[in-house]
């Protein structure tokens, strides 16, 4: 087993991207993810790569579009307000079926908001994020190791399905330091015969495009894209179950919220309450099946979020509203405490799902 190194989450993302073969990074400074850009600025020139600070988030995502169109692995990163600016580009990337990796180290919003951790871009990330029918693969790390692992996995999935993978982290994940193994599993990149790298006068020209003026054709493109999305929903769901074997109460939480929730679960178990956790790792595709299955034994679901309650809607959909789903949340850069979650668990235990 490879040695572990102590890294910040943001740095782990950057190094993992390089290990995955990414040699082009474009970004614009914004807290709390700027370490990614700083790391890339140091590393890329030494390995023949390209770090370029763009004039805006909009320019950065379009530089990504250009490199992606040439068939190379490419990424950008930002935090919430910057991701809104990238929205246009995310839609065009989806419309042109280009692979890319985009990192959102979330902070509190809306507007300029704050610079402390948040999960309030869940809707934006999982429901499309900009105009038109599309999805991104959304990966939610809960440790520095997962920041690295999911970055590599995100590149693989992006290439496999020709779409954007988004790492949806938060300020805590970006800033915290943990030991991480960089012995990462990188798959070979698929052939990209569609890439715009010059015809060499040997083939008909390739066109990267999201315009389709004939509605019948545009409809067909959308249906085909959603067939691909259905494959992803079938094959690429990732989640962790924690103490779910006998659980009567199920917490749903991702990222930093899941780590706080685990503390509360250990304490509740010590008090004799059967509670467990389902932690979605892919937020899209959402792990619907384990939640639905859990309704057989669980009487109450508790969604723990750093937002005003966004994932809770997917938990309700996944559980088909068969059991009550309650919310434990903080917002604006605040993080729920283990005590706050424990209290909700105790209430659920007392009520036994009868609310």
């Amino acid at each position: 087993m490879a040695d572990k190194v102590l890294m910040k989450g943001n740095e782990a993302i950057a190094e993992a991207a390089i290990i995955a073969g990414c040699r082009h990074y474009f970004g614009y400074p914004i807290t709390p993810q700027t370490e990614i850009a700083a790391y890339m600025a140091k590393r890329m020139p030494k390995i023949g790569g390209c770090f370029l600070q763009a004039e805006s988030e909009i320019a950065a995502i379009n530089m990504v579009y250009g490199v992606a169109s040439c068939g190379l692995r490419v990424m950008t990163s930002s935090s919430s307000p910057g991701i809104s600016l990238k929205g246009e580009g995310l839609s065009y990337l989806a419309g042109a079926d280009l692979p890319s990796l985009v990192v959102n180290v979330q902070r509190g919003g809306p507007g300029l908001g704050g610079i402390q951790p948040s999960q309030s871009d869940y809707f934006q990330a999982t429901k499309g994020g900009a105009h038109g029918d599309f999805h991104m693969i959304v990966l939610a790390p809960a440790s520095v190791q997962e920041m690295a692992d999911l970055t590599v996995h995100g590149f693989d999935l992006a290439d496999k399905y020709r779409m954007t993978s988004m790492i949806l982290a938060d300020g805590t994940m970006g800033q915290m330091m943990e030991p991480v193994s960089l012995d990462l599993n990188v798959k070979p990149m698929p052939e990209k015969p569609w890439a715009t790298t010059g015809t060499k006068l040997e083939r008909f020209h390739n066109i990267t495009n999201s315009l389709s003026l004939v509605p019948e054709e545009l409809e067909e493109l959308n249906f085909k894209r959603y067939q691909r999305y259905a494959e992803i929903e079938k094959n690429e769901v990732m989640y962790e179950e924690y103490m779910m074997e006998d659980a009567e109460i199920c917490i749903a939480a991702f990222g930093i919220a899941s780590r706080v929730a685990k503390n509360a679960i250990v304490e509740a178990r010590a008090q004799g309450i059967k509670v467990g956790l389902i932690r979605p790792i892919t937020l899209w595709p959402f792990p619907k099946a384990p939640f639905l299955k859990a309704t057989e034994k669980v009487h109450t679901f508790i969604s723990v979020e750093l937002s005003m309650g966004q994932m809770i809607e997917d938990v309700r959909l996944a559980t088909e509203c068969r059991r009550p789903v309650t919310l434990v949340n903080r917002a604006g850069g605040m993080i729920p405490s283990p005590e706050q979650i424990l209290e909700a668990i105790k209430n659920a235990h007392k009520n036994g799902g009868a609310n």
Binding site: A54, E55, N62, L72, T196, I207, N209
Partner: protein, 254 residues
Amino acid sequence: MVVFDKPHALADLPMHYCPGCTHGIIHRLVAECLDELGIEGQTIGIAPVGCSVLAYNYFNCDMIEAAHGRAPAIATGVKRADPDNHIVFTYQGDGDLASIGMAETVHAAARNENITVIFVNNAIYGMTGGQMAPTSLPGQVTQTSPYGRDTNHCGFPIKVCEMLSELDGPEYLERVAVNNVKNVKAAKKAIKKAFENQINKKGFSLIEVVSSCPTNWGMTPQKALEWVEEKMIPYYPLGVYKDRTAGIVKGADK
């Protein structure tokens, strides 16, 4: 002996442009340059949003359709993906380049990004049906300036070559026109030089092509070309605004 033929880099397709539109001429000039320099096979063109949005169909080189105004940023990515082999050009109108995409234009120029920009200035938004453009002349009647462009209300046109010539970055800036044979020949020379600069790794070259839009100007093609001569060129003087290699800065030869 063949004395006039369709350039290899230009697709054998009917174009969608209006009668009298000069996009066809400019497309042809670009394609002739790709042929003559032998670079079609390594060229990637970036089409804009606007009347020339479908330019990706008309050039036989690899093509990318950009979001409105973002072509210089995409071109930056394409160039940096393979700086030694990719020849990259953007083809943009005045709304695309000088309004919604101004930041991308200025910063690509400031970086001396080694790309070629073909900037078609016809002083109007064509595709959406004739609205005021960043380059519409003072007093010019458009759908969104129905009483004439009032500079007290909505400001003055942007002179792109003059503005960019203030930057240290760009290698080459020239304004040309395609309203008569003499000017078309000069335009071809400028466009070719803009590609040669890129081949020789000299950096950012922008050719502004003063152009006509008979349909949205509400003129016959002939009248529109006269309007280019009488109204457009006096406001947008032709000439080299910057040529770093030749030591020319700010339209000294006009």
